[in-house]
């Protein structure tokens, strides 16, 4: 909606003073939070930060390059297991292990990107879905990875700093998340980002104009897998324990839902989508403790449904959100934001 007049206007990180103000306000808020909030709140924020990392990566693939992936739990698992194994077996320091594991995930992403070159729509969906399911099955059968019993994460030392509490993890996670978000935002403004958007909008036209389809599509898969790998490595330490059952198909679906609810092709949208759905996920786990709604639901369950299955309301809520968003605003929360902005810009007229 804002007209871009030259190239530098298009590539700059913050488009106006207002954006700079809110960005600084957000960063200050994030920096002040650990001194104000309780440990459980920080634990929640850590979870949301991990969701944000993975969802930003997935949005580069789905929103910018236009490829479907139902297998991101696989990359997430590779990152988590890779980091833990590299630290406990190969005795690498944390950051080296994290980056190396994410690179392994990226290599798998590249490999999955190769068949994806010729596939689209449902074919790509089933191929990525198969990848996600296979990875967790394989991890669950290998002794080194702890098999079905799972793995406990080793103690986390960065130099002399021993990370124990959720507050320590917060100080580790938030800078990484902010860095990765800014990196993704910058990436979409570069040649790579423009090439991915061109592939999404008109693949054949892009190819005719000299965009290397093979290179950029596999690159999109690799970058996306890298983000998921970083997220997975951090997730293992926040949870302190990993087992194959965590990385289910439902997890991949949730990541995809966060991307879509937040808004395809928008980094800010991904952040809001990941925070909103992640927060709902954590809140709805004990739905009966919510005041008023909880008691009403309890009465309803006793009358018509069953009390044992009440936690499944979570599924109903998520499903409804996904369907409604797709029906009424295919661009997600970001689409709402754009519409609201357009409406208020010329408001009295």
């Amino acid at each position: 909606m804002d007209m871009k007049r030259d190239y530098y206007e298009d590539v700059q990180l913050c488009t106006s003073g207002v954006v700079v103000f809110w960005l600084v306000a957000l960063l200050i808020g994030l920096a002040a939070l650990p001194f104000l909030a309780s440990s459980y709140t920080l634990y929640m924020v850590n979870f949301l930060a991990i969701n944000v990392i993975v969802v930003i990566g997935l949005n580069i693939l789905v929103g910018y390059a236009g490829q479907v992936s139902l297998g991101h739990a696989g990359f997430f698992a590779i990152g988590a297991y890779g980091t833990v194994i590299l630290m406990s077996e190969a005795h690498l320091p944390f950051f080296a292990a994290l980056v190396l594991a994410a690179l392994i995930a990226a290599a798998f992403g590249f490999l999955l990107g190769l068949p994806a070159l010729r596939l689209e729509g449902p074919y790509l969906a089933i191929a990525t879905l198969g990848f996600g399911l296979t990875i967790t099955q394989i991890i669950g059968r290998i002794e080194l990875f702890g098999g079905r019993q799972g793995l406990h994460t080793p103690d986390l030392f960065i130099g002399p700093w021993h990370l124990e509490s959720d507050r320590d993890f917060y100080f580790l996670l938030i800078p990484i998340t902010v860095l990765l978000a800014i990196a993704a935002r910058n990436l979409t403004k570069t040649k790579i980002g423009r090439a991915l958007i061109a592939i999404r909008d008109a693949e054949i036209a892009a190819e005719t104009l000299g965009v290397n389809i093979m290179g950029y599509k596999t690159l999109a898969f690799a970058i996306s897998a890298f983000y998921a790998g970083i997220g997975g490595g951090l997730f293992a330490f926040v949870l302190r324990f990993i087992e194959p059952e965590i990385f289910t198909l439902l997890m991949s679906i949730m990541f995809l839902a966060m991307v879509v609810v937040g808004g395809l092709g928008s980094i800010m949208g991904s952040i809001t989508g990941a925070c909103l759905l992640g927060w709902l996920d954590l809140q709805l786990r004990n739905i009966l403790e919510i005041p008023y709604v909880g008691t009403w639901l309890e009465a309803l369950s006793q009358k018509w449904f069953s009390l044992t299955g009440v936690s499944n309301i979570q599924l109903i809520v998520f499903g409804t959100i996904m369907v409604l968003i797709m029906l009424f605003e295919p661009l997600g929360l970001f689409g709402f934001w754009i519409r609201a902005k357009k409406y208020w810009k010329t408001w009295p007229f």
Partner: protein
């Protein structure tokens, strides 16, 4: 050798239920190009309706099963009418998201209503009775599933080739605009498609229910059915059935000779490898996109 043939037979038996779900997905994909991830859960809810009629309202089984199939048809039509029809300019990703959302809603409803524990379906045929053919065992339920799958394939094939409605469905798929000009009410056709597909899927659910009956029971068969449909090219009815039997047999042979642990995922590895070689499945003509 006896083992080998027994495994083949088991593979065919397992493949039959994949085939029914694969057929159901192909029917929808053929007319509206929607990969329907809610297929399994549509069958699930119909199966639970049959269970409720039998257990709670004491219907005799010759009424409960047909009633649940009728329910399946109505459910398919209602979902198409209320949800899918309302989507504005849908992309493939959008359709995938909508059907996954529907799937979560239906699954949530079923597990909220009935709880997550295993139920025992009072099915007229026990899954543990079997028939001997020479040295080989086949359970009567498996024979029934096989017969239903083959009948469904033949009937659907004839339906699409010779009936007016089937022809209209094919026309809608090939060129919606031209079909409308010729007086076909394409939206009503789509609704009918969802009803028929839901019916086929629900029969698979009912046939699986004596063995396993819990809210997660349709996940695996639905994904395998989808994989089979993709293998057959997503638009070909015989292709989906062939793919389903192939997957069932590969799965059982792999489980018997190589590794029982990886049995449940080998289908997906096969699918990925097959898609590398033939990106649009075994039976579909490769569709070349025009600019």
């Amino acid at each position: 050798m006896i083992d080998f043939i027994q495994m083949l037979i088991n593979g065919v038996a397992v493949g039959s239920s994949y085939a029914l779900l694969g057929l159901a997905m192909v029917i929808i994909y053929k007319t509206s190009e929607v990969p329907n991830f809610a297929q399994g859960e549509m069958a699930l809810i119909s199966t639970y309706v049959a269970y409720m009629l039998l257990e709670q309202y004491q219907f005799p089984s010759y009424m409960a099963f047909p009633l649940s199939l009728v329910f399946a048809v109505v459910l398919g039509c209602v979902l198409e009418f209320t949800v899918l029809r309302r989507a504005k300019d849908p992309s493939v990703l959008g359709m995938i998201i909508i059907t996954i959302g529907l799937e979560m809603i239906l699954m949530g409803l079923v597990s909220w209503k009935f709880g997550a524990e295993q139920k025992s379906m009072p099915f007229p045929i026990s899954p543990y009775e079997s028939v001997m053919f020479g040295d080989f065992f086949v359970s009567t339920l498996e024979i029934l599933t096989l017969v239903v799958a083959l009948c469904a394939m033949v009937v659907l094939f004839l339906f699409f080739r010779y009936s007016r409605l089937g022809m209209a469905m094919k026309a809608t798929q090939q060129n919606p605009v031209a079909a409308r000009i010729m007086g076909i009410r394409t939206r009503r056709i789509l609704m009918a498609t969802w009803g028929i597909s839901s019916l086929v899927g629900a029969s698979a659910g009912l046939l699986l229910s004596p063995v396993i009956m819990q809210p997660y029971m349709m996940w695996d068969p639905m994904l395998k059915g989808f994989a089979a449909a993709v293998m057959g090219g997503m638009t070909s009815l015989p292709g989906a059935v062939f793919g389903a039997y192939l997957l069932g047999i590969i799965e059982n042979l792999f489980g018997g000779y190589i590794s029982i642990e990886f049995k449940s995922v080998v289908a997906f590895v096969v699918i990925v490898l097959m898609l590398c070689i033939r990106p649009s499945g075994l039976f579909a003509r490769h569709y070349v996109k025009k600019v």
